[in-house]
Amino acid sequence: MSYGLYISDGINGSVITNSNNIFNEEYEFEFTSQAIAANSSLNIQTTGAGNPALIAIEIEYPTTSSASHIDIERDPVNDILKIKNTGTSSQSFSAKLFRFQ
């Protein structure tokens, strides 16, 4: 495809805004060592996230325990990311949101 916003430095250049070839990291949704209580969940509003197939969530777990107890669900209708701690003790996680569309 050859439409969209073309950026060139006079020698090199490329179309950067046609379908599906922008990849952004969004710091608004970055969490570092976020604590989440036992048997509770954290809802993150990802306004404008749009098509969930084009939104990537990278989760990092500090321990094996947290990895096995933290689940992620996405509600594309309401643009909500739900992070659940299914364990019986507090866990922590880090998360980043990426967008490619």
Binding site: I7, D9, I16, G48, A53, L54, E58, I59, I72, Q101
Partner: protein, 253 residues
């Protein structure tokens, strides 16, 4: 959302740029074939790899990982491969042997935050976020190619490979697979245990293997020499069924 700034949507109404959000765009900064990129890869960056043309036979049953040699100071990270072989000892009991890690030559490209790519040019397009951080800087485009994400695998959702389980093929034929965010393993001549999270690059399968088998100095069945692991039963080798990290597949456009 602010009523000022630059917002770009694609034909599917997907948001591509929005200067009111705190975003940071990625651009391709290096494309090549070798044992690792020349640019310094930071924790925010991505490294995509695939088998070079005509090299598939040399990378059969090779698990590729992104790592650096354990020296002081550590060497720059690069591509390492460990070839594995599996022996079926009896019903559902397997023994896996990994060779020592060696540098492997792969096709690759690196994508980095646009704001992290320096330039002294005084022309171009810069898109700022509301807080004055840079969302996109056209001066970071150093190459005539961009990239397209073709598949995304959320953390812990990939069906990993094991002798008992065929695993999930990542991406499509010809895709590059990102390896810097999720692969790992010790690179050196000595290992206390074999712990490998890597990409079987020929088949595009994720492998998460661990063994605590320790029996130094011998090479018999069930014993391990430095840098080489041999498991004997399912009880001392484990193929974990998940990857703790997201995996991306992409193509150059």
């Amino acid at each position: 959302m602010s009523d000022y700034g630059l917002t770009v949507y694609n034909e599917n109404n997907g948001l591509m740029f929005d200067s009111s959000r705190k975003m940071n765009s990625y651009v391709v900064t290096e494309i090549g074939t070798g044992t690792g990129p020349n640019v310094t890869v930071g924790p925010d960056d991505f490294v995509f790899v695939k088998v070079p043309y005509g090299q598939a036979s040399n990378l059969t049953n090779t698990v590729v990982l992104w790592s650096s040699v354990m020296t002081l100071p550590p060497t720059a990270a690069g591509f390492f491969g460990r070839t594995y072989s599996v022996t079926n000892l009896s019903a559902n009991i397997y023994s896996t042997t990994f060779t020592s890690a060696v540098p492997v030559i792969l096709d690759y490209f690196v994508v980095q935050h646009s704001s992290n790519v320096s330039s002294t040019d005084e022309y171009g397009l810069v898109v700022y976020n509301e807080d004055q951080t840079v969302q996109f800087d056209s001066r970071s485009i150093k190459l005539g190619q961009h990239f397209q994400i073709t598949e995304y695998y959320q953390t812990r959702t990939v069906d990993t490979w094991s002798p008992q389980n065929g695993g999930e093929v990542l991406g499509s034929s010809g895709d590059y697979i990102e390896i810097s965010r999720w692969t790992r393993g010790t690179i050196g001549t000595f290992e206390a245990a074999t712990d490998i999270v890597g990409l079987d690059i020929g088949q595009r399968l994720a492998i998460n293997y661990f063994s605590t088998e320790i029996n130094f100095g011998n090479t018999g069945v069930g014993e391990r020499t430095e840098g080489t692991q041999t498991g004997t039963t399912a009880s001392n080798e484990t193929y974990r069924n998940h990857i703790n990290g997201m995996i991306l597949a992409a193509v150059l456009t």
